[in-house]
Amino acid sequence: MDEITKHFLNNNRRQFIKKLGVGLGGLAVASMTDPLSFLGGQKKVAQNILPENALHFAPKAKRIIYLFQSGGPSQLELFDYKPLLSKMRGQDLPDSIRQGQRLTGMTAGQEKFPLVGSQFKFNQYGESRAWMSELMPHTSKIVDELCFVKSVHTDAINHDPAITFFQTGSQQTGRPSMGSWFSYGLGSLNDNLPTFSVLLSRGTGRPVAQPLYSRLWGNGFLSSLHQGVQFRSGKDPVLYLKNPESISKTDRRLMLDYMGELNMKQEAEFGDPEISSRLSQYEMAYRMQTSVPETMNVDDEPDYIFDMYGEDSRKPGTYAANCLLARRLAERDVRFIQLYHMGWDQHGDLPGDIKNQSKDVDQATAALINDLKQRGLLDDTLVIWGGEFGRTNYCQGTMTDTNYGRDHHPKCFTMFMAGGGVKPGFTYGETDDFGYNITKDPVHVHDIQATIMHLMGVDHTKLTYKHQGRRFRLTDVGGHVVNDILT
């Protein structure tokens, strides 16, 4: 194979296709006539080539910032105003409402299910008159940017299966995370940062939080090229990114140049195209060594930005700092930016804990959305806020005048989205006065996933990956696009 073909195959195919102007339809042709992927199976295909069926319609969003609230935030204290619960405080949840819903092992032994209303006040805000609790004063100011879905429901009632379900479409482990699907299906928008970036933060709501697992951002059966890459605070923001102290940047360049020469000799001798492919991965790694620290370094942010995101945003590793980083990643066209904020699992001491936890996220979330907007990025960035399930309308554990807790509730909870293609200032779905069942427009987890994919231009039934004989997809065998929330 001559140098030009090789170069083209390994490095340049997308630009080439772009220049040819064949667009997406042409990609199918291109991959069909690619002499390497032709019979080469997944190995080659997975690296640089989009699946031919990836984009199915014009996308509304180019990138996603998913603010995952791990542990299950209480919709009843935050978004879903249910005055009846305060009126009926202490009374048992009627069986007619519970309708045999299964319970977690934590409240299965409880004799009574005393209803308890929010200790926090609710008000309506904005032109959209959206209900918001006093726990979210900053977010309350931007409700006209937000699209609330109050009728989300899930199949799982415990954390591990529920969070896995949200991320991968299956309660059992082993399937790719949503970000991996987008990386696989849509490829990268830039050539010096990972397509699927992950940021973690620990809440102040509960010192002992639900743990996370790295498989939540795992690639499952997709190529590990699509795994989420964790961005961490500290000296080594991406694992193994930093050169050892004895090796400077120019040393590294020198090493790569010599390595390239020596490797090309090997390729000439053995004819293995993996060798130049590996070289291009080293070049990407080298670019990341500059681009990642540059992205993570917030020194160039003016004070008013930190003021906007809140004081926490100056502390690396906090949710607020991560929100600011999310904006920086979005600016650099990272396709899928996933935050996880731990600590929403408030079984007891809910009033105190949720206050702190809300404070962690309220200002920074609002700032992120405002900031994206003022930079013109909100139009094609989809921001998603939500946890893996909601919380019960009855108290778990002891109830006092000032204290109570809530167990996991899968049958209804609230999420909100903003930007890229969702209706601003809009509320969708309703729950009953007990905040226990959905009364209008239920939205299943698979529906949320289908809708997110739709906004990115992907038909969720068509982005599939054949593994062990079966075509898998993010939405498994379900999912309907919630058309009513689309612009």
């Binding site: 973690l200 743990p211 697992y213 790295s214 390595m259 053995f270 993996e274 990407m284 004989g469």
Partner: protein, 789 residues
């Protein structure tokens, strides 16, 4: 612009050549099944084939069933629950039966495509009526439609799925070239190459060969002494001597155990939530010892599946059953016990089917299998073998889940000598299998859900009858299952095993989908060879070492991996084996290689898992913060930092990152095949992993101490240590230039300075130590250093 023209031209010419080659291939290969490209993701095989000539004789297994299964079975296959229009195409009876409301139509009428609904519907012009329907997102190419038509014309003959028929005795084929080939394997390979008009490649250089052999059999590189001994041995059996030596080494057992840990989803933690630590390493030590003493595969597996049920089961046989307790176990407080207990039984069911039968049995959990003849009832028949364990769904901190055994130091001394028990431990608790919930009945779970048992009918242990009926002769327990697996009439067990061994040695299995021998799996590239190997394996009483030896002794294995552009185009995946495969080392091998060549490796077998370097903070970031759990990764000190990678502590919710980056599976579930990717994160590990820097520095120190060698000799030495060969003049020149560039860059003079006594990795003081460390790190990063072949 000119360049683009060339590219464009190439893009049209190259596929044309390939198509011509395929056409040739298709025409000449009717005598034997040929594997079709197993993809289905981006490129449907049919599209590739669109310009081909139809075969003279259309074969059901080779041509038709792969398409039927892939595009039709979802609605017209084994699953009665979702079958459309009452039509099933997976059986002859179903396909030929009368259909339609008035039973006046037939999907297939042999010899009459014009009257066959299948042919009419796939050619239907009306988009609302065409099959497969638009909503399925599946299509048939023109070529595939023509194939179907011709097949029906020729009588629409159905055949049993190849993998469900027991392998038949095969005669070793005669070949034309008497000068090539060492053993029977080569006859099968050569026969196929003759059919394809290809020739085998020359033998690899002795250095390349010994390097590949060492990695394949031991997971470690050859030492320079090993290489020299082999190079200077001119005897005709020089190579065989090395093979025999390696097969008796304990490193062989460790290398094979490493792969077995993937299959067994081994971990050092329970894998959910707080992810508490568990002690299963004594079981891992048993696996190593079993490979070491070459326990026959049938016993190796029987002990793991049913060691406890063997007559007068020994303690060792009970320890082996830990295999089926390697699944994850939750500690999440709110979990419903039964939901998770069922999940553990499901895991054993799926693992056993995948590992030993190459079946995707778990697909029949919620409904009949969509592609393979496995009913949901049969799934639960298989499930019931594993459903008698008295176990909890949720466990507590520091709890060793029942059933368990306690192993004392005395027992280790007397009967379990393979367990490397540290002196600091007086007894060990180990999970094992025990059917002490004999009263528990198995019912089919509707939709596979734990709380929806169909209590109308108890399901007794049995197996899918399409594989081999579970007749009265077998006890209705796990021991019966093991007997059934190793019944010589079982069509899958031996094939699946030799195929996986082939995958270990040749890079890709004869059936490339080593995890799926069902209808959706790939066809074998060399079906007769597969059967011959399977039968031989059984005849030789499941002797694994003998089988590995046969594979590595073959001339096919010993070929060079050099590939011409022409051959690369004809056979990019190296299915025909006209060359050796060049493949990247596994995650374990990459690190073990660094440790071995730099002199850091500590060769100690077994014992508790160890904690080598890992980037700081990874465990804390995700952990709950609950006291007492694995909150913080504290790297080991001393020799435990330098043990082979199969001993690295496996925390399942945060597995060792460098190993994951190099495609180790997460060990959440059984895996029998690893990905082989090439990513920027791998480049980062290779450039910056402290382990690699330490290894580079250690080797630099060793070489700098050797004052008898001049610079050229030093470079040659380290290059050879890492790549197993000498650099040529050009390479040597480049490496010298690199050293000089480093020197001038750092304004260093050419004199070697004295080594400092400071051994901290971070603090490289000596100037030459620094540049040699860089040089060595460069060599470690060469492509050649992380591939074999």
């Amino acid at each position: 612009m000119k360049r683009k023209h060339i590219i464009l031209t190439l893009w049209f010419i190259v596929p044309l050549i390939v198509l011509l080659c395929i056409r040739y291939l298709w025409q000449t290969s009717n005598s034997e099944y040929v594997s079709i490209p197993h993809s289905g993701n981006q490129l449907e095989a049919g599209k590739v084939a669109s310009a081909q000539k139809l075969p003279d004789s259309v074969d059901f297994i080779f041509h038709i069933k792969p398409i039927l299964s892939d595009r039709c079975f979802l609605c017209h296959g084994p699953d009665a629950g979702t079958r459309e229009a009452g039509l099933r195409l997976d059986t002859e009876t179903g396909a030929f039966a009368a259909i339609g409301e008035s039973l006046d139509r037939h999907a297939i009428i042999p010899g009459q495509p014009e009257k066959s609904q299948l042919i009419l519907r796939i050619n239907e012009a009306n988009p609302e009526k065409i099959m497969p329907p638009k909503s399925s997102n599946l299509t048939l190419s023109d070529y595939e439609k023509k194939l179907f038509t011709k097949w029906v014309e020729q009588g629409a003959k159905y055949k049993q799925h190849w993998a469900f028929e027991a392998p038949k005795a095969v005669t070793v084929p005669e070949i034309n070239n008497p000068n090539w080939g060492t053993n029977e394997i080569d006859h099968f390979i050569a026969k196929r190459l003759e059919l394809e008009g290809l020739k085998p490649s020359e033998e690899a250089s002795k250095e390349k060969l010994i390097r590949k052999l060492y990695f394949d059999l031991t997971g470690l590189p050859p030492s320079i002494d090993d290489i020299d001994a082999f190079l200077s041995d001119d005897s005709s059996n020089a190579y065989e001597k090395v093979v025999d030596k390696l097969l008796t080494s304990s490193a062989y057992a460790e290398r094979m155990a490493a792969d077995w840990l993937d299959l067994s989803r081994y971990g050092d933690t329970h894998g959910y939530q707080e992810d508490y630590e568990r002690t299963m390493w004594p079981w891992r030590d048993w696996v190593i010892s079993a490979f070491n003493k070459n326990l026959p595969y049938n016993k190796f597996v029987t002990w793991q599946i049913a060691g406890d049920l063997l007559p007068n089961a020994s303690l060792e046989q009970v320890v082996a059953t830990g295999f089926n307790r390697n699944h994850k176990i939750t500690q999440e407080g709110g979990v419903i016990e039964e939901e998770y207990r069922v999940e553990y039984v499901m895991d054993r069911t799926g693992t056993t089917a995948k590992a030993f039968l190459g079946l995707t049995m778990e697909c029949a959990r919620c409904h009949d299998h969509k592609y393979d003849p496995i009913s949901q009832k049969e799934f639960f028949g298989f499930y019931s073998f594993f459903n008698k364990v008295k176990e909890k769904g949720v466990i507590g901190f520091k709890e060793i889940p029942e059933p368990k055994i306690e192993i004392t130091q005395k027992e280790v001394d007397e009967v379990l000598a393979f367990i490397n028990m540290p002196d600091s431990i007086s007894k060990l608790g180990l999970m094992v299998m025990r059917d002490d919930a004999a009263h528990r009945k198995t019912y089919l779970l509707n939709r596979g859900v734990y709380d929806a048992p169909n209590k109308a009918e108890e399901i007794l242990p049995h197996t899918p009858k399409s594989v081999l009926p579970f007749t009265e002769q077998y006890p209705k327990n796990r021991l019966g299952l093991a007997e059934w697996l190793f019944d010589e009439k079982n069509p899958l067990t031996a094939r699946v095993a030799v195929n996986r061994m082939w995958q270990q040695i040749f890079g890709v299995g004869i059936v490339s989908t080593s995890d799926d021998f069902g209808n959706q799996g790939a066809l074998p590239s060399h079906p007769k060879l597969l059967d011959w190997l399977a039968i031989t394996f059984m005849e030789e009483e499941w002797d694994m070492k003998k089988m590995y030896k046969r594979m590595v002794m073959s001339s096919a294995y010993r070929q060079t991996s050099k590939v011409t552009p022409k051959l690369l185009q004809i056979d990019p995946d190296n299915k025909f084996l006209a060359r050796s495969s060049r493949s990247r080392l596994t995650s374990e091998m990459i690190r073990d290689n660094m440790l071995a060549v730099s002199g850091l490796l500590v060769n100690k077998i077994g014992g508790p898992s160890v904690k080598p370097y890992q980037p700081k903070g990874l465990w804390q970031e995700t952990s709950s913060g609950v006291e007492g759990v694995l909150l913080k990764y504290i790297p080991d000190k001393g020799e435990n930092k330098y043990r082979r990678s199969l001993y690295t502590f496996w925390k399942r919710t945060v597995p060792p990152p460098a190993m994951l980056i190099f495609d180790s599976p997460t060990r959440d579930l059984c895996e029998v095949k690893r990905q082989k990717t090439n990513t920027p994160l791998q480049a980062l590990v290779m450039m910056n992993d402290p382990q690699l820097m330490e290894a580079s520095k250690n080797l630099a120190k060793t070489i700098l101490k050797d004052t008898s060698k001049n610079e050229v000799e030093k470079i040659k030495y380290v290059f050879r240590k890492i790549t197993s060969r000498y650099p040529d003049e050009d390479e040597l020149g480049k490496l010298r230039n690199y050293l000089n560039d480093l020197r001038s860059k750092h304004k260093l003079n050419n004199q070697e300075t004295e080594l400092t006594k400071n051994t901290e990795t971070k603090n490289i003081v000596s100037k030459d130590l620094r540049i040699y460390t860089n040089l060595i790190s460069l060599i470690f990063n060469l492509d050649e250093a992380i591939v074999k072949g």
